[in-house]
């Protein structure tokens, strides 16, 4: 008997008991919806937490914070060279701050902030992005942070304070013009004995950094090249342009003056692929470096959520198993009711395996219908939960829930797992009735004695 005909036969039989079949499909659909909704909470929370962690951070990034058991714990150029020589390393970015509060002037506007020294070639490889302009090509070119313009305030030499109470620049003092192409005067200072000396370095603004991904982040820094830093160091006579104040204890002053190496405060290694992050991270940890990557954190979070999701799917599976009792009952009733028909079919030459297959198709069909309807219902519930729950919680606790926070999330794998579990469970529950159907005695069935 062809599969198409078996399926047609099954559909005909199911139409005879629409109410019973509907109730069985409903029970299965409820079981499936329960499984999916339950597990979707695990998936949703994991997704939201992971997104929160990975937001603004590259998965391929490994941050190196220093070295263990070394006299000199800072990261030096030798370390950078070692990192760059490792397999699967795409770029090694190193940032350091000019070790004093800089005074930046653009025409008659001025701001105070940090000058961050970056290696532009490696930053470009790592994916440093601009919102406007280009990256520096000459030594005296710089990139400014996205919010640098916001921090510039017109200075007229009078006592009138140009800032609001919250630290923002008053509207009438704000810089309104374009910054790209403008000359920025970078002022640094140093002491010679008791006397304060200052020097201004003129650099040209060629690019503006990309807006930080988080709303609360603020980037008023300027990004300068190592060449500019060298010039600053030549003036201050100290690495990183550190200021040696007259009141600094003599011991500390000696230490500072003896220090020759530059230390890189923010070192990040970028792997060529997420897959290789773990290997690189383990290699440098073996070499006693303090390294951290999001992947390390993700591994722990994913392990916890794997256990949580497995538990939720297990509980959901129990609901499907309970629904399968209904399928077993329905199929047993179907075999009993159709025993005369089964007897006639066997009498004229139906193979027992064909009869068994027909009943198994019927039970799996019920399971499949239940799984499909259950999945649709679960999607609707998920939409409802993600829309309604933030409103309820923010009203109840008075704290706003982040807009992109998902309490429930259904990845494609979840309905597929559910349909798989449902099919296995329903086939198993239909197996015994199907076997019973093959054992129907022809003569008893035709005499309506079964």
């Amino acid at each position: 008997m062809r599969f198409k005909d078996q399926f047609k036969f099954v559909r005909q039989n199911m139409k005879k008991n629409k109410t019973r079949i509907f109730m069985t499909v409903l029970a299965t659909a409820m079981g499936c919806a329960f499984l999916i909704v339950l597990a979707s909470v695990g998936f949703g929370l994991q997704k939201s937490i992971v997104e929160e962690i990975t937001q603004d951070r590259l998965m391929t990034e490994i941050q190196v914070h220093g070295k263990e058991n070394e006299e000199n714990a800072g990261i030096t150029m030798d370390d950078i060279t070692y990192f760059e020589g490792l397999d699967h390393v795409k770029a090694v970015t190193r940032r350091q701050m000019v070790d004093q509060q800089g005074e930046f002037r653009v025409g008659e506007f001025r701001a105070e902030g940090n000058a961050v020294v970056v290696d532009f070639p490696s930053e470009t490889k790592a994916g440093f992005e601009l919102s406007e302009g280009r990256l520096p090509e000459a030594d005296n070119e710089v990139v400014i942070g996205h919010d640098f313009a916001e921090s510039l305030a017109k200075w007229n030499g009078k006592e009138t304070a140009p800032l609001n109470e919250d630290g923002t620049v008053k509207e009438e003092f704000k810089y309104k013009g374009k910054l790209i192409g403008e000359t920025l005067n970078l002022g640094v200072k140093q002491y010679e004995g008791e006397e304060e000396k200052s020097k201004t370095f003129d650099v040209k603004i060629v690019g503006i950094g990309k807006k930080p991904t988080k709303d609360w982040e603020w980037d008023p820094n300027i990004y300068i090249s190592e060449k500019v830093l060298s010039e600053i160091e030549a003036f201050t006579g100290t690495p990183n342009g550190t200021v040696i104040t007259p009141n600094l204890p003599a011991e500390e002053r000696d230490l500072m003056e003896q220090r020759k190496d530059r230390f890189y405060s923010q070192v990040s290694i970028y792997a060529d692929d997420v897959e290789n992050v773990k290997t690189i991270s383990e290699t440098i940890k073996d070499k006693k470096y303090f390294a951290y990557s999001v992947v390390d954190e993700m591994e722990q979070i994913n392990t916890v959520f794997l256990i949580v999701k497995s538990g939720l799917i297990f509980i959901g599976t129990i609901a499907i198993i309970i629904a399968s009792i209904g399928i077993y009952n329905t199929m047993t009733m179907a075999v009993t009711e159709r025993a005369p028909d089964i007897g006639i079919m066997k009498a004229i030459g139906a193979n027992p395996s064909t009869i068994k297959r027909i009943f198994l198709i019927e039970s799996s069909y019920i399971g499949l219908l239940g799984a499909i309807f259950g999945t649709i219902v679960a999607y609707l519930i998920t939409l409802g939960v993600n829309w309604l729950l933030p409103i309820i919680l923010s009203n109840a606790f008075g704290e706003p829930i982040p807009g992109d926070f998902k309490f429930s999330h259904i990845p494609l794998s979840l309905p597929l797992i559910c349909i798989g579990i449902c099919l296995v469970v329903t086939i198993l529950s239909g197996l015994r009735p199907a076997r019973r159907a093959t054992k129907v005695d022809v003569l008893k069935a035709m005499r309506r004695e079964v």
């Binding site: 008997m1 062809r2 005909d5 036969f9 005909q12 005879k16 005369p340 028909d341 006639i344 079919m345 066997k346 009498a347 004229i348 030459g349 139906a350 193979n351 027992p352 395996s353 064909t354 022809v442 003569l443 035709m446």
Partner: protein
């Protein structure tokens, strides 16, 4: 074509361990040749239906062997019996044994469906056969909407649909009135003459018995008399 050798059968009744054995058939030997109509007669409980059920493979003999077309069918398992029945035997039952939830057309088509014939071919063959049995106007009727005679014709159409060389009939006229009975017997004779189908018919009706080329009587489970029709 059909050869029965030393066939015996016993029924066991009662609870397990306390069963009573009732012998039904004892040492039956029978041979039915190609194109013959053989009728088996006997009183109720004589064992004639049991003989037909054994030849149909619905029950297994306690002793003896049955050969159909040189196949020793007594060695067949259930699956092999099913295939053999589908391809070699047609069945006509006293109470028609039509599936009530299927139309007359679907009942006749069922054997073709079980054999795996394509839908289009099934439709052509089934419609052709309905014309042959004179029921082309009743194809879409359910069995409950047909008379006894019409139901038996549908049953015959189902038996004929796969062109079996042998048809086994158990009291085929048992549920029919006299006129319909005559019509059916004429149809059986016509099928035998035109298509050469072998019939083994179980009956207690003398009129039916007389259409046989040979009449066999079973008394108390033993074949006691064999009479050739004149």
């Amino acid at each position: 074509m059909i050869e029965v050798k030393g066939l015996s059968h016993q029924f066991k009744i009662g609870k397990k361990g306390k069963e009573t054995i009732i012998p039904v058939l004892e040492g039956i030997n029978l041979k039915v040749d190609y194109g013959e109509i053989v009728t088996v007669v006997g009183r109720s409980g004589s064992g004639k239906s049991t003989l037909l059920n054994l030849i149909s493979g619905y029950i297994q003999p306690t002793e003896g062997e049955i050969f159909i077309d040189d196949h020793n069918v007594t060695s067949f398992n259930e699956s092999k019996w099913a295939d053999f029945r589908l391809h070699n035997l047609g069945f006509i039952f006293q109470s028609f044994q039509l599936i009530l939830s299927m139309t007359a057309f679907e009942n006749v088509e069922l054997a073709l469906t079980l054999k795996g014939v394509h839908e289009k071919e099934r439709k052509t063959q089934t419609e052709k056969l309905f014309k042959k049995v004179g029921l082309e106007k009743f194809m879409d009727h359910y069995p409950s909407e047909l008379s006894g005679g019409q139901q038996q014709r549908v049953s015959i159409a189902r038996a004929l649909i796969l062109n079996p060389p042998i048809i086994l009939a158990d009291e085929p006229t048992g549920s029919l009135d006299s006129d319909t009975e005559d019509e059916l017997l004429d149809f059986i004779k016509q099928l035998n003459h035109e298509m050469g189908i072998t019939f083994l018919i179980i009956t207690h009706d003398e009129k039916v018995a007389k259409i046989g080329d040979r009449i066999i009587e079973i008394v108390d489970g033993a074949l006691v008399e064999e009479e050739y029709a004149s």
